[in-house]
Symmetry: C2
Subunit: 430 residues, 2 copies
Amino acid sequence: MNTMKESAGASEIGALMMAMGGKALGVSQVLALTGTPQKNAALRAAAAAIRNRRAEILAANARDLRDARERRLSAALLDRLELNAGRIEAMAGGLEEVAALPDPVGTVAAQWTRPNGLEISRVRVPLGVIGIIYESRPNVTADAGALCLKSGNAVILRGGSEAERSNRAIHACLVDGLVAAGLPPEAIQLVPTKDRQAVGYMLSGMTDFIDVIVPRGGKSLVARVQQEARVPVIGHLEGNCHVYVDGGADLNMARAIVLNAKLRRTGVCGAAETLLVDKACVATHLGPIVRELLDAGCEVRGDAAVQAVDARVKAATEDDWYTEYLDSVIAARVVDGVEGAVAHIAKYGSAHTESIVTEDKAVAERFLSEVDSAIVLWNASTQFADGGEFGMGAEIGISTDRFHARGPVGVEQLTSYKYAVRGNGQVRAG
Amino acid sequence: MNTMKESAGASEIGALMMAMGGKALGVSQVLALTGTPQKNAALRAAAAAIRNRRAEILAANARDLRDARERRLSAALLDRLELNAGRIEAMAGGLEEVAALPDPVGTVAAQWTRPNGLEISRVRVPLGVIGIIYESRPNVTADAGALCLKSGNAVILRGGSEAERSNRAIHACLVDGLVAAGLPPEAIQLVPTKDRQAVGYMLSGMTDFIDVIVPRGGKSLVARVQQEARVPVIGHLEGNCHVYVDGGADLNMARAIVLNAKLRRTGVCGAAETLLVDKACVATHLGPIVRELLDAGCEVRGDAAVQAVDARVKAATEDDWYTEYLDSVIAARVVDGVEGAVAHIAKYGSAHTESIVTEDKAVAERFLSEVDSAIVLWNASTQFADGGEFGMGAEIGISTDRFHARGPVGVEQLTSYKYAVRGNGQVRAG
């Protein structure tokens, strides 16, 4: 190894990243004052470019896929990486949906007048420069770029190395859109190197340029980001989501909700991972719900009471209560009423999304109040944990942080605010 | 030096801090569900305790002051450290004011119903455990403890070592209040050691317990916190505040606002530090404003145009534009209209508070829109940068961060939110 060369490489990457940061900061001041029509025009032009350049994107993706297969990456990763005509159209449509969303920038979140006549407004403003670090799905390039642009932020995107060519092809379409709308192409920048050092710069070396980092990916990525970041992070940790079937639950509703929460899609962060059943309804509710899951092909890992219901139930270990399977597996146990459910969730949960099924309003309200998760539901599936389902439009993920943004992170959550105060000569006494 | 002993000391402090963190985390779950009357009762009982134990607090403060004088600390620091009957009454009154504030916890910030019937509410919840690191003013112990309690958060307070005895005496009164209201005394904990390692633990060793750190103090403290913190920080950087006198300004209003913004109190973060005057009104406005400042005893450091007005004006250097004097000194220069003012503020400002004086609404609105500071004012003094003046009640400071909380940080800004979703059996399709 040539140490000289290595260190030259490091300083080259440093220079590259700093240049990207400087450009992003400069452009962010333009974007903050850019009107909604111009941002929307860029998004619609980018959607058109994605449709027009579909063959190019597919060719780039095919090369990424070929390399990934040669490197024997997992089938799940290959699926996340793969683009096809439907996924490309979905990306283009997603850009148009973001264009159709209301623009949060400049909206007045609150307004009041003081006794001395000062009129105070809290006005939404962009965060500034957002750094997004993500893994294999190339559609994040389009989604994240669009959400940041709509919210008036400059963005630096760092995608997974296995999707490098796909990301570049998609990014080129976003740039087409920016240029067509007369906006600076530096509004959406893609880090042009696979070098892992680029991530280090984004996390700790570019504090003068980057206002917030959003990691999108698996546990190890998010953990690295939260460990190393020297700028604020909007984190998206795991969704170890629970459904609690209370003694007061309607059995048919409980069956439908549990089945949907677990199995509609097992790979999403809002999928249920643990079923809690009130001991008050073990005799009536536990068997039908567990058998329905088993019959649908779901593995059930239960405590003694759940195992007693059906021979197909495996024994749960302590680890199961902590596990986000993202698969057709569910942990299940009997708890002592809503108090037991709240205690279990507080101990093992990840504060993402939990649901109670009950007809008892008082019990439901207690659950909604006492469970400290970003999203708590009553009589509805945990799979509703999604910005689109919340009516917030596209999202960049579900935040499990308590700070700044919690739950679905859409365009509004990518803004800050400032106070505009209008007076007529007021000076402060005393 | 005995290395064994040192490392034993370090591990003792570690154990102490971890125990405090664990207690705070446990209590935070209780506080999140504590009703407003009980929190208010604790605050009022603490106010009564501060009045009842005034002699004790004064005696503790006298010992802190004696030590500080022996260590020849500055007169400014001695003033910040000193308590007297008036300041103690102000602390007690402050606790009662926080009790009188609306409780943000549980309030519904937004509510909507989806086409599928899901009712979604965004409900305010506490942040959890707040760590506050502050310097010499002992009243911060009472103010910060009260704001955190009211917002349903557990707090770990780390005051300046020079105020150790005063802080302990005030903290004892807060604990009296908690106990009198039947709340756990661990809701407001004071770090009982002067050891600087305690701060290190709060910043980076207690990420499992502390949700957010609020530094209150000078630049070096805030810089250390932002450098070392491994948890989110609500930062309070310097207030390099500007007043821009536009060509369209009423002269008398401009004189009054500049004088007040600079001199009402020079030591507060909302004090004006730089005066910008439109070249369009140099002939009419610059002279009277500058002479009024000089005559009031303020040192003026100006560019050539400002120096030409009065022989008492000193020459400003490049450094002056960056400086937060916190003293009877102001930098002053002529700029080319609102565009020049915005550019100067973008380059040299600290994004805290800026004011424009003008009768021209279009120019004012441009300033309010383009200046990217936490607080932007039109025809009012920068000294209104204060949570109380905003009608938000007491505050823990003015945040110059863009993330989570910007501007005055009151009880509402010490909360997060969660989504409560009420359904009637909805499952997600597709």
